[in-house]
């Protein structure tokens, strides 16, 4: 009797918890799950935006919209630009963050004014991406200071000529992303390194390991989960890259390389908000983006998971199985 009363009290307490987390799930369901399912549904139709199509008429067109998107040159271009700009930004970002994180956590160096530097490095992340995008656009336009430097060093011969190279444009976007995010990655990696048991480093230094060796053999393997986390979140963010390139290559801000920095999300936005506002086609493009992101994340997880460990575990299981079989045979 007493025990059943206890269980009921426990359940009631749990119910309180449900009430507190309910607002999140309700909001998530209404504003995320339903639109998500609708996106899949509408991607099979030719629906137009509600403001040009108030009666919400549409036809099922099967996979026509997918075919149209996948065969379109502008999609292929966006599909190349996006990962290229992400990789160009992410590699220096991770290297820089690793370098700074290992310096900041190194007991031998003891960097002074750490708090100050961490704030300074993190600062670009606090500014809005639109501000930074417009700022760099002003720098690279004719009469901007980067453009003037390019004239001074002879890279641009005709002062009337703007920067036209698509790779220059991609480089600028990649640089902005690097500059905005290395501070954030650095903070995450510092947290990871601080979580390593200091006695490992102590033991290594007693054994005569150099700083390089202990970084390579202790720090790097032990922060791998944190690095995987950074990689995967950055990859997802990278495929959805929008704000900076959109500010630089949109509408009146048409720089010469506006199509060379067009990302997949910008491409989706162009379909949905200009011309005939074909939401159906935009949905099809979104579903493709979703699939790409999902596949890439899975591949990354597979590549960065500790395969040696998994292999050892499998071997052990196999051995145990064989041993069990042998035992069975003996009997």
């Amino acid at each position: 009797m007493a025990s059943s009363f206890k269980t009921r009290a426990k359940l009631e307490k749990n119910h309180f918890g449900y009430i507190f987390i309910a607002p999140f799930f309700i909001t998530y369901f209404v504003f995320q799950i339903i639109p998500l399912i609708n996106t899949f549904y509408y991607s099979l139709t030719d629906i137009k935006a509600w403001y040009v199509n108030p009666e919400m008429n549409y036809n099922f067109v099967g996979f026509d919209m997918f075919k149209m998107v996948l065969t379109e040159a502008s999609f292929k271009r966006a599909f190349v630009n996006t990962p290229v700009m992400w990789i160009m930004g992410f590699i220096p970002q991770l290297l820089m963050a690793l370098l700074l994180a290992s310096w900041f956590t190194n007991e031998k160096i003891r960097v002074k004014g750490q708090g100050f530097f961490k704030v300074v490095f993190y600062m670009p992340n606090i500014m809005t991406a639109t501000t930074i995008g417009l700022l760099f656009l002003a720098f690279i336009r004719p009469n901007g200071f980067i453009h003037n430097i390019a004239i001074a060093i002879g890279y641009i011969k005709n002062p009337s000529m703007p920067f036209t190279s698509g790779w220059f444009g991609r480089g600028v976007v990649a640089f902005i992303n690097f500059w905005m995010w290395y501070g954030q990655t650095m903070i995450v990696l510092i947290a990871g390194i601080m979580g390593i048991n200091p006695s490992f480093f102590e033991a290594a230094s007693i054994d005569g390991a150099s700083g390089w060796q202990s970084f390579w053999r202790i720090t790097l393997p032990l922060i791998r989960p944190i690095m995987t986390y950074s990689l995967v979140t950055s990859l997802i963010g990278g495929f959805q890259m929008f704000d900076v390139p959109n500010m630089m290559g949109n509408g009146d801000n048409a720089a010469m390389f506006r199509f060379d920095i067009q990302t997949i999300v910008m491409y989706i936005k162009t379909i949905a908000t200009t011309g005939s506002n074909s939401i159906g086609k935009a949905c099809a493009a979104s579903v493709i983006l979703f699939l790409i992101t999902a596949v890439c994340s899975c591949v990354l997880f597979y590549l960065t998971s500790d395969r040696a460990e998994a292999k050892a575990k499998r071997m052990e299981k196999k051995r145990a199985k064989e041993a069990a079989l042998q035992e069975g045979g003996d009997l």
Partner: protein, 469 residues
Amino acid sequence: MNKLKRVLSGTLALAMAASMMTACGKDDSSTAGNSGGGNGGGDSSKQTVHVYTFTDETQTMIDKYFLKDEKNKEFADKYQFEYHLTSDANEFIANCEAALTKTEEAPDLFVADADYAQRFAENAKTASLADLGIEINEPDYYTYTLDFTTVNGTRMGLSHQAAPGVVLYRTDYAEKYLGTKDPEEIQSKYLGSWDQFKATADTLKENGIPMISGVDELKRCFMNNRANAWVDADMNYTPDEAKIKELFEYTKSLSDAGEVHYIDKTQWTSNWYTDMQDGVFCFFGCTWFMHYTLKPNCVATKTGDKDKDGNPQAAEADYKVGNGSYGLWAAVPGPEPYFWGGTWWFGSKQCLDDGTKDVVKAIIEYFCVNDDSMKAYMEATGDFPSKKTVASQLSASNENLGGQDHYAIFKESAENVNVGTCCKYDATFNGNTDAALAAYCTGTKTLDEAIQSIYDESKTSIPELKEKK
């Protein structure tokens, strides 16, 4: 202890629920902050009129002219205005079309630019002039301003201005390098045809003065004279390729010769504004361009207040000859007649329902129908009216144009404007033409690639578009 916990958690839950409720309530203070200056801010006894616009000129017109007029005192007492301003063309179309489908904060009155006025005229939520009770005498108007927003014979919107284009050139450079600053002589000898234009550009180039600011300067002059619209009724792509080629090749001949200041799209960028103070010989401008764009940007020293973006504004005292290039301009019709934009005023079906019809009607009539108030606005700004009856009464001595009467030229140009070739997707096609033109002039694309890219990029946003037959 347990009781205390229960009380605490209960209070917290209540507080949370209460905060959610308040978030749902309409926040009146924020909307009042936006409302027009001419009516004493947010007064809850006044009904709000929502105005959607792509230009800050609309607010000036309503606050500084319509509401300041003694005759409109009853409207100033009865209504307050909330302006929803979006300058980017695509964003404005999306915002305004979305707002038209709602009832909360739906536009009562909205204005549209030439690139998308037809699109809004076809919108199901747009009220026709007959719905609003506005009667006009059609022969009084320059026909193109009416035809532009006519759907199946029904007149939908009205423009207060006709925007025939002219070429505005620097008289000091003309006198120094061409030997004359007289508009008639300049028109007949130096800017009257595209060949003359190129020869003049060559002369000025030798003296270090670029002819125009950016590669998108000439597009309207060529493209408004295209033979047919971008698409036909069945959504077949029907570009006037001969005209496009003409524009692209002519612009490139200028930019290759170093006669274009920036081989870039410069309109509405800081480089364009700076060139108005000094740097280039001429601009392809129009009626509103003169007082809205050129006048405030051609003065170098600005002592006025800052605008909302923090840019210095010119004050009345800054408009004196010798400050920047003020007073050193003159206008001529140029090589080909064309028009640039215009502002069409529309009432929505919403204003018929929510009781703001009388003020919407009054505003449109004030600027677009009534001869006296239209004339007063045109005289104050130097803008050019959409009505011939008003235009014939206007004459001016424009200080920025060295005393020239710009109305004389506009009257001539406005008669020759042809708009039979517009379609509702013009904003998309024109934007992609800009990008293609810039890519061709910088040499990143060949002529064929550039022209093909107009179709490719437009097809991205208009899936129904069919290939050229």
